[in-house]
Symmetry: C2
Subunit: 125 residues, 2 copies
């Protein structure tokens, strides 16, 4: 084995920053939580206003908000009687970076497909 | 409420493509599964060779592989007696696209920070 994934260092590397990344990716693996984030992307809002369009109890809704808070994706602040939710998208950056490392694979496949069609076209002339 | 997130269409939109996205993001929310993907990014490999550096039973390892298979991130093929695992990173594309929609927020914050430091520097001259 070569490269950065030698077996002896594997378990150590696996642990590195695992918790944060795990929490963020688990948080976005639920459609309700993604919809909350997309709502908050339009601006901070009162928690009950955000909850309103969702067909679930406020208790159920608040559980989703807590998962987002623990992942660092949402901030809850209190202004007098109001509880406001605000998006905090920074933790998504690391996930995006990790995903973009795999972009070379899509690109390589697309290149092979393109070559295939170019050759096919040349043959059929 | 304005824009693409009108309450009446919310639940419908939430359901749209939810399952696929959910499976992919849940699959990458585990450090062992990410390590399997990173190993396979170096090339297809025999399943027992991939399992070897992980300090877990083969049964436990295979459970992780199945989660990756169901998300469409890994393919298992049989060559005679050998079972080979191969990376299939295409499903990550949708997740990357979704994440990059939030890039504007990091950029906006970075711009504000830069402006703050530029002003601060001007003042301190």
């Amino acid at each position: 084995m070569t490269g950065r994934f030698r077996p002896t260092t594997l378990n150590h590397m696996v642990q590195y920053r695992a918790n944060k990344f795990d929490r963020v990716t688990a948080a976005i693996s639920d459609p309700t939580r993604r919809a909350i984030m997309e709502r908050l992307a339009r601006g901070a809002a009162n928690i009950s206003d955000v909850a309103e369009p969702f067909s679930m109890s406020l208790t159920g809704f608040c559980k989703h908000v807590r998962v987002l808070e623990r992942a660092g994706l949402v901030r809850r602040t209190r202004h007098g009687r109001n509880k406001t939710l605000e998006l905090s998208p920074e933790p998504l950056h690391d996930v995006a970076q990790w995903l973009l490392r795999y972009e070379q694979f899509w690109n390589a496949r697309l290149d092979r497909l393109e070559q295939f069609f170019v050759k096919h076209k040349e043959k059929s002339r």
